[in-house]
């Protein structure tokens, strides 16, 4: 039982994470000036569902805070409080506290001190928007103020949307007066709850909901057993009962409906006042038909106001899936909210498995093709099979594609924290958040991105004084962008700070023994030193960057994905770090080459041409360097046997080898000397860090048709000028 509850709770936390991301994206958009109804509604819904779930699982601190937050969002949504920059800033700060509360509920962080933030929210609610109003202690029952406002009542009464004057509908007042004229005690609720047949199968244990209602003071008055079949027909996994409960009238309807936030589809829930003549009327009709009351109700405003008015949100809450919110979303401008499409939740493990299976299919396909005679290979079935395989592969890849926004979403908060820690003022500009990238890539760039941002704030952006002295605006700017170019994704982090202090970097590298003191390095090579293993030290790095990962780990993480990190820096103007990532992690068209008998895969995307050198075409330039003369120009040649420390056939003549000319982003055209070329085929990339760790110079491994493993070469890492700085790839 408790295990099941844990599982459900895990889903709740998953939804919390998504909700927080939505809320943060919305709040950030509001901060940037997008105060469209769709954006605000998105934030409201996110906070509301966090509150609902938290209530169901008994996270009281989280519920209480989310409730107050939701109140404010509701006011903003109803346009009674203007989302001025001041208000938005408080909401952003409140969002941070909310995230901390969620973390606390998960047990990963202490419960945050939220009293101040609660007061700040309350102050806005009371003042109707002034962000800097002094926090006032909340009176238990607010008095109607001289200007006709009823702050708390409107805060939790969405009926306001229908009634701009803030009055209670007369039906409410009259009913309250009729029912209990003296005490103002509303009639008890009758709650009828018939879970759907499949409730148990969906994980919606109805008893939990009944318990929840009992906690609110409810009592089961009747159990409907009419649906119970004879024993022989009884399906143990079906739910046949219906419950009728009586809940004290002082309980808010929203509190009751919140109990039904997690409900299997097609369950029936009815919440009505007992014996009240109006209870059966549809809520909207009732509200609009009611004439305006002559005066505010006698009863204490908050409970009856909400209690007797089934709020629209409550109706939404009773519906099982977020899709129920779709109309509101469709009304919203496309830019402000994610359109809610028909979606299902799929365990990522299953997607990974599917991807692996497709990979196997590709491998078997190419083995099959190899086995057939050339004539059979051209028959129509085989190309058709290949095409289908390719389509399945593309579809599976698209299932895994996610907007890179997910990786970007945690950046704004991080920057806010960093601004506080460093006292530097930083604004964030993002672009290309909708660029779609494989889920695996998104997961793995999170940490590198975090470190690059920390690095940019810590080392890139100068202090306010220095910025002003340099004639720059006091606020530093960090630009975060993503774009797709061909089969690669470029993720850039640029700052407008002081640029890399090359003299200092060089000095540090000499001191650390990374380069000899007399090394002659270009500016680019010095910049690359930042990523050299062992460069980051406690001395050069403050507590901010120092507690993340070093830039060398950033680089190897990115290289493990088959990508690379580019650095460009202009002194006084700023630095740009670019992560160049492959679009897909799964399949690669490659050339199978042999080095000292061992097979390697060379990505075909890098290959320009293959040359069988004539005697004398490859010439030594230095003791270790060689060039190949090709149509009048000279290209550097690397002997891969040497690069990998493989037993090279000493004195092997170039004319007995093949030189593959590859194109690289960092080093232009380079010739790679290999022994032979075996084959050309699609291979499925298996990452080395799944069970080991990324190895520089290798983009992964693949399993060939005979079950043996071939290592995939990472051309960029092999030919990059910086690789010469290392002591060589072979240990």
């Amino acid at each position: 039982m408790s295990d099941e509850l844990d599982d459900i709770q895990a889903i709740f936390f998953e939804e919390c994470t998504e909700g927080l991301a939505t809320a943060e994206a919305g709040l950030s958009a509001m901060d940037a000036g997008d105060v469209s109804p769709g954006t605000i509604a998105g934030v409201f819904r996110a906070v509301h569902s966090i509150k609902g779930g938290a209530g169901a699982f008994g996270h009281t601190a989280l519920t209480a805070f989310a409730h107050r937050f939701e109140n404010l969002m509701d006011e903003v949504r109803a346009d009674r409080i203007k989302p001025t920059p001041g208000v938005t800033r408080v909401m952003l700060a409140a969002f941070d506290v909310l995230s901390d509360h969620v973390a606390a509920a998960q047990g990963t962080a202490p419960v945050p001190a939220d009293a101040q933030m609660l007061d700040a929210l309350e102050a806005i609610l009371k003042a109707g928007g002034a962000p800097d109003a002094a926090p006032a202690p909340a009176p238990p029952e607010p008095e109607p103020d001289p200007f006709g406002f009823e702050p708390v009542a409107v805060a939790i009464d969405p009926l306001e949307e229908l009634d701009p004057f803030g009055f209670e509908p007369v039906g409410v007042a009259l009913e309250e007066l009729d029912a209990s004229p003296d005490a103002g005690e509303p009639r008890p609720w009758t709650v009828t709850f018939v879970p759907s047949d499949a409730a148990l199968a969906h994980g919606g244990e109805p008893v939990l909901i009944v318990r929840e209602l009992e906690l609110l003071g409810g009592e089961v008055t009747a159990v409907d057993l009419s649906g119970l079949p004879p024993l022989r027909d009884l399906e143990p996994e079906h739910c046949y009962f219906g419950w009728t409960l009586s809940v004290p009238g002082s309980v808010e309807e929203s509190a009751i409906s919140d109990c039904f936030d997690f409900l299997a589809p097609s369950s029936i829930v009815e919440i009505a006042r007992e014996a009240a003549p109006v209870a059966d009327l549809p809520p909207v009709e009732w509200a609009t038909a009611a004439p305006p009351p002559p005066e505010p109700p006698v009863a204490p405003p908050p409970p009856p106001a909400v209690a007797t008015t089934p709020e629209p949100q409550a109706l939404v809450a009773a519906a099982p899936v977020p899709v129920a919110d779709a109309p509101a979303l469709r009304a919203a401008p496309a830019a402000s909210a994610e359109p809610a499409a028909q979606t299902i939740r799929v365990d990522l493990v299953k997607l990974d498995m599917l991807l692996n299976l497709v990979g196997e299919l590709v491998i078997r396909g190419s083995i099959l093709a190899d086995r057939l005679s050339p004539k059979d290979q051209e028959r129509v079935e085989l190309p058709q099979l290949s095409r289908l395989t390719r389509e399945i592969q593309d579809t599976v890849m698209s299932l895994r594609a996610q907007p890179i926004k997910q990786a970007f979403s945690r950046v704004p908060r991080m920057l806010r924290d960093l601004s506080v820690e460093t006292g530097k003022q930083v604004v964030l500009e993002t672009s290309g958040e909708t660029t779609e990238v494989d889920k695996g890539v998104i997961e793995k760039i999170g940490d590198p991105l975090t470190h690059m941002i920390r690095n940019a704030v810590d080392h890139g952006i100068e202090s306010v004084d220095r910025r002003l002295a340099a004639g720059k605006p006091a606020e530093g700017t960090i630009r975060l962008s993503a774009e797709q170019k061909g089969a690669r994704i470029f993720v850039r982090v640029s700052d407008d700070g002081g640029g890399i202090d090359r003299a200092r970097v060089r000095g540090k590298a000499v001191e650390k023994g990374i380069i000899p003191a007399d090394a002659v390095l270009t500016d680019e090579e010095i910049d690359q030193l930042i990523c050299a293993p062992g460069f980051s030290t406690a001395e050069t790095i403050s507590n901010i960057s120092g507690r993340g990962v070093g830039m060398d780990v950033v680089r190897s993480n990115v290289e493990a994905l088959g990508g690379r990190v580019e650095i460009s820096s202009v002194p006084g103007k700023g630095t740009t770090f670019t992560m160049v990532l492959p679009l897909t992690l799964a399949i690669l068209e490659g050339m199978i080459v042999r080095l000292s008998g061992q097979r390697f895969v060379l990505p075909l995307a890098n290959v320009i041409e293959t040359v069988q050198p004539e005697p004398g075409q490859v010439k030594p330039t230095t003791t270790t360097g060689e060039v190949i003369e090709l149509r009048g120009s000279y290209l550097p040649v690397r002997r891969l046997n040497d690069t990998f420390g493989l037993p090279a056939n000493d004195g092997q003549r170039p004319e007995d080898s093949l030189v593959i000319i590859v194109e690289s982003e960092s080093a232009g055209h380079v010739g790679l000397m290999v022994d032979t070329i075996d084959d050309r085929r699609e291979v499925v990339i298996k990452s080395l860090d799944q069970n080991l760790y990324p190895i520089r110079g290798l983009g992964g491994a693949t399993i060939l048709g005979d079950g043996s493993i071939a290592l995939i070469l990472d051309i960029e890492a092999l030919v990059a000028p910086a690789s010469r700085l290392q002591k060589g790839l072979a240990a």
Partner: protein, 166 residues
């Protein structure tokens, strides 16, 4: 856990490596494979023999003897690879010969004295088990009992930090 034995007991797999009998927890063992020459990797410490294909997964193969700081074990007919789970990652350990699977009591595990194998912390403890019939000639046996060195798999995990030090 549904390993079918009582609390306070555990099953260990014992194997020989050089002159010693070692043991690892059965629960960490994924499978035992015959030795198959792995694909060598460039730029890794010598004890990582390479990678091998374990049903579609690329798994590193570690020479356990070298990893413990001993001379490399010679591969022979009974050499095999113990594929184990190391903190969520899989790795194969080359060992000389798999001996037995024995049930031991937690209370019988003695703390390891400083064994001279470079890194004392890879030994979790010592335990004596009875030899199996006909196993009296097994190295490490004293009378009817064998001394088994229990390996701490957590400490044997392959991390890059370790390799930088290596």
């Amino acid at each position: 856990m549904t390993t079918g034995h009582e609390l306070g007991e555990r099953k260990i797999v014992t194997f020989s490596l050089g002159e010693q009998i070692f043991g690892i927890e059965m629960s960490a063992l994924i499978e035992i494979r015959e030795w198959d020459e792995p694909t060598p990797l460039p730029g890794v410490p010598g004890y990582i023999k390479g990678v091998t294909n374990l049903r579609g997964t690329v798994v590193p193969v570690v020479g356990l003897a070298e990893r413990l700081g001993w001379p490399a074990s010679r591969v022979h007919a009974r050499s095999c690879i113990l594929v184990v789970n190391l903190a969520g990652k899989q790795a194969g350990f080359l060992v000389d010969e798999v001996a037995d699977i024995v049930l031991i009591k937690d209370s019988d595990i003695r703390p390891a004295p400083d064994v001279e194998i470079g890194e004392p912390n890879v030994i979790k403890g010592l335990v004596k088990t009875a030899t199996r019939e006909g196993g009296a000639g097994t190295p490490g046996s004293t009378g009817g009992d064998i001394m088994v060195l229990l390996l701490d798999l957590e400490a044997l995990g392959i991390t890059r930090t370790l390799d930088l030090a290596a």
